[in-house]
Amino acid sequence: RPSQTSAMAARVAVSRWGAGPAAGRRGPLVPCRWWSGAPADTVYDVVVSGGGLVGAAMACALGYDIHFCDKKILLLEAGPKKVLEKLPETYSNRVSSISPGSATLLSSFGAWDHICNMRHRAFRRMQVWDACSEALIMFDKDNLDDMGYIVENDVIMHALTKQLEAVSDRVTVLYRSRAVGYTWPYPFHMADSSPWVQITLGDGSTLQTKLLIGADGHNSGVRQAAGIQNISWNYDQSAVVATLHLSEATENNVAWQRFLPSGPIALLPLSDTLSSLVWSTSHEHAAELVSMGEEQFVDAINSAFWSDANHTDFVDSVGTMLQHAVALLKPTKVSARQLPPSVARVDAKSRVLFPLGLGHAAEYVRPRVALIGDAAHRVHPLAGQGVNMGFGDISSLVHYLSTAAFNGKDLGCMSHLTGYETDRQRHNTALLAATDLLKRLYSTSAIPLVLLRTWGLQATNAVSPLKEQIMAFASK
């Protein structure tokens, strides 16, 4: 009898460790641990696994949500608590571009105020141009409002930690706690099986929760344990980051990005005299850049931005023709190509490289599990959208969970989790596909593709509604 076999299966205690199986398309089919009937310890309403930018922000957002007043939330972080006594003079080399939508989320639970009190830099314009032609695109808002903010990751993390401490009666944070195993419940009740997710920590203790949120980065343990398929590949590029000193103080409210055939190089403003570098290039070149002398490094950066070595006459003339054609069809003010500020020196020890890749989880949710941030999607930094997509996930998930809590629903119920998944997959898939396409399109110096992208860039630059659409999509 099917019922008997499945009841027996429920009595087999199995838990998944590390990489999960290729389970069925939906639903982790790992049988549940026999529920021994021991007195229920605290059953948490939500456990967020992973205390990075996105995980901590998720815990914060839930902690400050009005409908989560009497709910128990837990944040698990494998690392130690980072206490920032005083803001260091030197800027950190890991920075993020925060969109206005993300800033709204951060201010909804008071973290943005802390960031403003520490330091951040607003930029009002963005220039993106090609190394192989004269084509460029300039983004700015009509009244020169802030397009986005460049904030150091440490500053954001510190603001989030402060806000978490303020709501510690609702949100418990466990540092130095790594989840090593997860036990999934059956889709619906079998006799005597616990309906909650059980998490085993490194020290052997176990927790139970009604909803597990995986925010543990692109090698997500939650995603692997749940057996969710992940479409991913590594790019043949690594990103080099560094903090740069400009030759002279400028207003520095423009973000610059140039697409070289080897990869995009971006200069993001940090202060009047400092900017942050993000240079995605081949693995060999990246290793070279990190190890070469300071002066050589600075020269490499300046020539990357200024040199026209990749221009060919043919492409230039065609480009000029295209520009005239576009101007005829749609006369707009042609913005001349501006040059970014020149770099004088680089902060010692601020050069680091890390590999790049793309990843997207086939499913963002399972019964009682949801993935947010890099656990769900990993993107190339060329669009500056990585952490913003994560913050967008948080806004959406908190909205659905809040409504569910106000309706007295079981938080791990699939009906609202699938709402979150549909909402975010639509947005994220489009952005991921576009970013990947751009990366591939600009990774070549083959003439036909160069012409194609030159024309495309010029056309997009001329069509203001299209530019506004792009900006609106990226600012969410």
Binding site: C69, F188, S194, C413, M414
Partner: protein, 375 residues
């Protein structure tokens, strides 16, 4: 990758709508138990039947809230709180004694209460409508409430709670809820389900009994009574409402969701089900048991309850979601308030002129226009 989940689940529903009920094996059939309300004396009889599963047709049939029917014998059509399936003449002559094998099957199937994509999926998704309906109307009666536990301090009675689908959300919102159902198995399922949640275990109490059995001990104790998908299974609606009124505190609320008795509910329930499912012989639905809003209102008014809201509900079998509607010809929800002793009920946002007319003239003949709850 994109939308795959939605497509497959709506495909299931789509197939479910048009599929034949014969796809499922007998072993999958729910065993049904049912309360039987006798005219003058209410007693519960547990009957178990084995049916070919109507799950496939259920999704559409539920649109007009046709329920799986348990025929006890020819003269009584009794329905088990929850799902009712159309009965063929063939099955109506089946045995009615309790079979231990069927008890076992039913116990497995009792778990289907909590299978959100299963037989009771429409009832689960109806919570998206009825919980806010109950919550918002109760919040109007209090001046302030605790965020996070908006219904804390309220005592609610859930009559015909089944597996506790509606009881648990009310408990999560902070209310102390007593859920009653005449069917032992349902109560066992409900008890079992709430036992894992320490918060709910304290706030909810289940009892396997009928409403009349607890009337004497609970006179005027409840702030609200919820009778969702129950009154269309009751033989004597008048007595039922009277009992509700007795256990309600003055000023307390009564929430009812049920099916209207209209040509539309008849046509969709009988004609469509017969043509598509081919499992419903003519005359098997107890359409006579359906209650129209007008009749319900007149009974409520005559028992000292004033009707504040009547709102239509519509089920989309393809998406699996319910929607509020201005059309009450299929499903509807009603909210009535017990008048405080001798005084007219306190004015609320939905207080209409006709309320004062009714109180003055005691006219229960023609309820007139319905109030609609805009969602």
């Amino acid at each position: 990758m994109l939308g795959g989940r939605c497509l497959s689940s709506s495909r299931d529903r789509f197939l479910g709508v048009f599929g034949s009920g014969c796809w499922r094996t007998l072993a999958d059939c729910p065993c049904l138990t049912s309360p039987a309300y006798l005219e003058n004396h209410l007693s519960w009889t547990v009957q178990i039947k084995r049916w070919v599963s109507y799950r496939m047709t259920f999704a559409y049939l539920n649109k007009m809230k046709s329920y799986r029917m348990i025929t006890l014998d020819a003269s009584w059509r009794t329905d088990w709180r929850g799902m009712r399936y159309p009965v063929t003449r063939l099955y109506s002559t089946s045995q009615t004694t309790v079979d231990s094998n069927e008890v076992k099957t039913f116990r497995t199937l009792a778990h289907r209460w909590w299978d959100e994509q299963g037989t009771y999926a429409p009832l689960h998704s109806m919570n998206d409508l009825r919980v806010p309906f109950i919550r918002d109307n109760l919040l109007k009666t209090v001046t302030d409430h605790q965020p996070g536990k908006p219904l804390s301090g309220m005592k609610i009675l859930d009559v015909g709670c089944g597996g506790g689908l509606l009881t648990e959300p009310l408990g999560r919102l902070g209310a102390s809820v007593i859920g009653i159902d005449p069917v032992d198995e349902n109560i066992k399922t409900a008890q079992h389900h709430k036992s894992f949640d320490p918060v709910l275990a304290k706030r909810i109490e289940y009892r396997a009994c009928s409403l009349e059995e607890i009337v004497e001990e609970t006179i005027e104790t409840f702030d609200a009574i919820v009778a969702s998908e129950v009154v269309e299974h009751v033989l004597d609606l008048e007595t039922f409402i009277q009992c509700c009124c007795r256990v309600l505190k003055p000023g307390g609320s009564l929430f009812i969701t049920t099916i209207n008795k209209t040509q539309l509910s008849y046509a969709l329930g009988i004609v469509f089900a017969e043509q598509i499912a081919g499992l419903v012989p003519k005359g098997t639905h107890t359409w006579e048991k359906f209650v129209s809003p007008e009749k319900l209102e007149s009974i409520l008014e005559s028992n000292g309850l004033s009707v504040l809201t009547v709102a239509g509900m519509l089920y989309n079998p393809f998406s699996g979601y319910w929607h509020w509607s201005e059309n009450t010809s299929l499903n509807y929800a009603a909210h009535a308030v017990k008048s405080k002793a001798e005084e007219p009920p306190a004015p609320t946002e939905f207080f209409l002129n006709r309320e004062t007319e009714r109180l003055q003239a005691n006219d229960s003949a023609n309820p007139g226009a319905h109030e609609e709850l805009k969602k």
